[in-house]
């Protein structure tokens, strides 16, 4: 069995260096000159980290075939070299296994090792080629249109604990959820590690729309082991300064370029030193344009607003004055003209402010720390909903919707306001490349942390935009309104950070099951915690800024310190590894570690972080008594289902459809452990989660008569002792009646036996998933459901 290493941070000592990192010792922000001194040491320190980690393999439970590859490194504002390492085996990346090491100014090394995988033992070579794996992925994906880019394929070692599971989608003909075969994983793994290929596909055409997908394909069997949709939703030029008339930003000065023909373009060669990975596929037209340098494009439509699927750089402007300052008037066919330019001005200005924020406040090279060029495409109706915006991980660019107002009276304006753009560009900070993406989809708490992070830094950029002249390296104390989307929504915010539940959908506090919500709404606790951290919480009950989890309230530490703590947490302590595993509890730990690192253990900032997270039901503030805890606990203790589908099934239950069952729940810190059961939960807002059902009846004795529907179902449990504590869980209802005698019982296992591991089931009824094949998944689900439903005696 694979062994997960302890997630505790560990201090490594370099033999020739004098001191170990002392927990609780703060490391203040350095002046630029001092920081430069440490930057010159970065290459040496990266090498030291790698050498030390290799020497320490035995302690880490690793062998001689395990190694480390440096994924990225930078020197932070405290003079610490931050080195992100990927674990390798025989030189191949171990999927999802990473470590982050800090080399402190005194030369000592501190490493986070919890993400490493020990016990790998693989012999031989993959039976399939990378090309074979690519074919498997494309067969599963079945794109309707042409691929502009060939899939990227990388041989990896895949840990069985990351096996995917059931995925569902909406059947447009019936409106009911059905299995999503493109993303559902039925494979099993008998070995804890296998050779595999990671296949990354970027789709962008008029038949498929724009999507980024990652498949992991077993290099021996060709089975798909995991599938993730990770879509998150222009030489020879002279730098110039233009004047922009934006709608949201008013009249602004813009960095533009004078092109080879003497005209101007919304093309800023002062920001971005590496080419954009998507724009590289476009052919230079002789104007001087290249894929390096921040830029804004517009999307072309015909006179009726139908997309032509062409897009163009804002260019050929002879005056270098852009826009008319008026909202987009839906002048289709004139997107590149003066009214359309207004959206380009707002986007360009917002991008520049965001870029400068990350560069000047945190010393980061652009968004991804490498200086990669981002781009924006405005007035989009194709790659994003017109009333939305989308950051494309694969394109490293943002698609900003055209808005549907006024044609749609409740629609939005052009999605180019500062907070929208800064939010999206922040995804470029937190998901800097394809092999280190944040999983931003329901099912993972990480989605809410990711969206909350983007909301928070959008506020910080908003404050930064209003900074006094010359104050470029700090975040002003004022200027944030803690509202998201009020501009594009014509005055009414889309989200409130101070009290997220004002939108009627977001949550003010964490609960077990929040991961099932859309990340924009599960962001609520993250947003509120960061608001409290900066601005404080009220002790007056009924106040918008009062939290029942922290009735005594708290004092905020201001924007600048809050921003530095959280930036350090997301760039130095949290490890997005593609598995979606980051939780709110880990976010709290990362923030505390950052605060202690920046300001010292027990500092005002340290305590403020603990209080702010406590105020959203994540952890406790110093001195607080434990709260009642209601959880769908990960109780499987390493059984077959957990081992083979760890991320999906650890705390989920399997029951037969159409039977009376007693769901399981864990209540702690309460003498009265009774709960009130209910159907559905916050994730089922207006039935919005089409992949899950609400159904059945809760009986007076607390049992649940399940509906006759094979699907994922949502149920919730609320503590009777403390009604503020509740949990929403997932239950999969299976069809145990394989012999169709209308009585699910142990005799039904015969059906499974008849069809087990045939390429096609002899009878579809033999599958408890009503799938056309039967395997150990059916066996384990059946036995699990029987054990959970009917007692042994």
């Amino acid at each position: 069995m694979p062994r997960l290493l302890s997630p505790l941070a560990c201090v490594l000592a370099l033999g020739s260096l004098p001191a170990l990192a002392k927990p609780g010792t703060s490391h203040p922000t350095l002046a630029p000159a001092q920081r430069t001194r440490f930057q010159t040491l970065q290459a040496t320190r990266v090498s030291q980290v790698r050498t030390q980690m290799l020497a320490d393999r035995s302690r880490l439970g690793l062998g001689s075939r395990d190694g480390f590859a440096v994924q990225s490194a930078f020197t932070n504002t405290q003079g610490e070299a931050v080195v992100r390492l990927r674990q390798t085996y025989d030189g191949y990346r171990v999927w999802g296994a990473q470590s982050i090491a800090h080399v402190l100014p005194d030369g000592s090394i501190r490493a986070e090792e919890g993400g490493l995988q020990s016990g790998i033992s693989l012999e031989g070579a993959p039976r399939l080629s990378g090309q074979d794996a690519s074919k498997v992925a494309l067969k599963a994906l079945a794109p309707k249109g042409k691929l502009d880019q060939a899939p990227q394929v990388e041989q990896v070692v895949f840990p069985a604990r990351f096996l995917g599971g059931l995925a569902t989608k909406l059947d447009p003909s019936t409106g009911r959820p059905v299995l999503d075969r493109a993303l559902t994983v039925y494979a099993k793994l008998a070995e804890p590690f296998v050779w595999a290929y990671e296949v990354r596909v970027h789709l962008q055409n008029d038949l498929d729309g724009a999507r980024d997908l990652v498949y992991v394909v077993d290099a021996k069997t060709g089975n798909i082991l995991r599938a993730n949709d990770i879509s998150q939703r222009l030489t020879g030029v002279t730098p110039a300064t233009g004047t922009g008339n934006g709608y949201f930003r008013g009249t602004v000065s813009l960095n533009t370029s004078q092109m080879a023909d003497g005209t101007y373009a919304l093309y800023d060669t002062t920001r971005g030193t590496l080419p954009n990975p998507n724009l590289q596929y476009y052919t230079p037209d002789g104007s001087g344009w290249s894929a390096t340098g921040m830029q804004v494009w517009w999307e072309e439509h015909d006179g009726s607003g139908n997309p032509t699927w062409n897009s163009y750089l804002f260019q050929s402007n002879p005056t270098n004055t852009w826009g008319d300052g008026q909202p987009w008037g839906q002048l289709w066919g004139q997107e590149g003209e003066i009214n359309g330019q207004t959206s380009g001005v707002d986007a360009m200005s917002a991008m520049a402010t965001t870029w400068d924020f990350y560069t000047k406040v945190f010393g980061r090279n652009g968004l991804d720390g490498l200086g990669t060029t981002p781009f924006a495409q405005v007035l989009s109706t194709t790659y994003t909903n017109p009333d939305a915006a989308w950051w494309s991980v694969g394109s490293f660019g943002v698609y900003l919707g055209a808005g549907t107002y006024p044609a749609n009276p409740t629609g939005h304006l052009s999605m180019t306001d500062l907070d929208v753009v800064a939010h999206e560009l922040t995804h470029g900070v937190t998901s800097p490349n394809w092999s280190q993406f944040w999983v931003n989809s329901p099912g993972y708490e990480e989605a809410g942390i990711d969206e909350g992070t983007s909301d928070f830094f959008a506020q910080m950029v908003k404050a930064y935009a209003n900074r006094p002249s010359g104050a470029d390296t700090t975040v002003p104390a004022t200027g944030a309104d803690w509202e998201i989307g009020a501009g594009v929504n014509r005055g009414t915010p889309i989200r409130w950070m101070d009290k997220p539940s004002k939108d009627g959908r977001s949550m003010d506090g964490w609960f077990d099951g929040i991961q099932y919500m859309d990340g924009h709404y599960s962001a609520g606790p993250m947003n509120r915690a960061l608001y409290f951290l900066s601005q404080g919480a009220s002790s007056t009950q009924g106040d918008d800024h009062y939290s029942p989890y922290l009735p005594m309230g708290m004092t905020g530490i201001g924007n600048d310190e809050a921003a530095r703590i959280w930036f350090k947490a997301v760039t130095e302590y949290l490890i997005p590894d593609g598995s979606g595993g980051i939780t709110f509890a880990q976010a709290r730990e990362a923030a505390i570690a950052s605060a202690q690192d920046l300001y010292g253990t027990g500092s005002t900032e340290d305590i403020a972080v603990q209080s702010a997270f406590s105020a959203v039901n994540v952890g406790l503030a110093p001195g607080q008594a434990p709260r009642v805890s209601v959880r769908f606990a990960p109780w499987r203790n390493g059984d077959y289902i957990e081992t083979n589908h760890f991320s999906d099934y650890s705390n989920r239950q399997i029951f037969p459809k159409g039977q009376t069952v007693i769901p399981r729940i864990t209540v702690e810190n309460a003498s009265d452990t009774a709960v009130t059961w209910s159907i559905g939960g916050p994730s089922m807002y207006r039935g919005s989660d089409y992949s899950v059902e609400e159904g059945g009846v809760i009986n007076p004795d607390g049992s649940w008569t399940t509906p006759n529907e094979m699907a994922w179902h949502s149920i919730s449990a609320t503590s009777k002792a403390d009604p503020t504590q509740f949990a929403e869980g997932r239950v999969f209802l299976i069809d145990m009646d394989t012999d169709m005698d209308l009585e699910p019982d142990a005799v039904d296992m015969a059906g499974i036996a008849y069809s087990w591991y045939l390429s096609n089931a002899l009878n579809p009824a033999h599958s408890v998933l009503e799938a056309p094949w039967v395997d150990d998944g059916d066996v384990s689900f059946f036995v699990d459901a029987m054990r959970s439903t009917w007692p042994a005696n």
């Binding site: 009646d737 005698d741 009585e743 005799v747 015969a750 036996a753 069809s755 959970s788 007692p791």
Partner: protein
């Protein structure tokens, strides 16, 4: 992929109910003496039957499922209803999941059937078709089946699996009471399930139907 819920399979024709006499929880004329143990007389038939295992104790009756000698099968399952006062016992599970609240199984594997993948994956957690539970009405349902059709069928004339009955002290049964055990469903998988092919054949589809069998139960009384 929906199942035709209204397609009722032919069931029960060929099933016998409990043999071995008894007419439910009977009454006796003499003053009641509290029951302290079981007495069980094996069926006299040579077909499918539940026979007393030597590991039984006065208060825990372990019954072996035994089939006709010479009949090769790939697994069997049955449902058994017990009267009030009879509690089904458990056996330690081979793959315990303590936190699921059901640490033990109501069925015990005697090792005759080959439950795992014949490819011998070596996975200690590999799931097998061995399960059971007690449904409302004190109805025990148990089953044990070979999941891999490449494994050979096994002679059924030996103990294939075990169940256990225990005296429920809270039921206050009297000594000498005759207790009726009713078999309401019993099926096995025959040896001939068609020539193996990884892709289904018409022959395999036609033979993918478990066979009903008559399960004889002995006479159970209290002492």
């Amino acid at each position: 992929m929906r199942k035709p819920l209204l397609t009722l399979p032919v069931l029960f024709l060929g099933l016998s109910l409990a043999c071995g006499g008894g007419s439910g929880s009977g009454s006796t004329a003499s003053p009641a003496t509290p029951a302290k143990s079981f007495s069980y007389q094996d069926p006299t038939t040579t077909g499918w039957r539940l026979v007393k295992d030597a590991s039984s104790t006065p208060t825990r009756l372990v019954l072996d499922l035994v089939g006709p000698s010479g009949l090769k099968t790939r697994g069997a399952g049955f449902n058994l209803v017990a009267p009030k006062g009879v509690h089904f016992g458990t056996f330690p599970s081979a793959n315990p999941v303590p936190d699921l609240g059901a640490p033990d199984f109501p069925i015990n594997d005697t090792g005759v059937y080959e439950l795992k993948n014949t490819d011998n994956t070596g996975d200690p957690l590999e799931p097998v078709l061995l399960s059971g539970g007690v449904k409302p009405g004190n109805k025990l349902t148990v089953g044990i089946f070979q999941k891999d059709r490449r494994a050979s069928a096994k002679d059924s004339g030996v103990p294939l699996c075990q169940i256990a009955l225990e005296l429920d002290p809270t039921a206050k049964l009297s000594a000498g009471e005759s207790l009726s055990l009713q078999v309401v469903k019993a099926k096995y998988i025959a040896e001939d399930i068609g020539a193996f092919s990884p892709t289904p054949t018409v022959e395999m589809v036609a033979k993918a139907k478990p066979v009903d069998f008559t399960l004889a139960v002995g006479q159970l009384t209290t002492k």
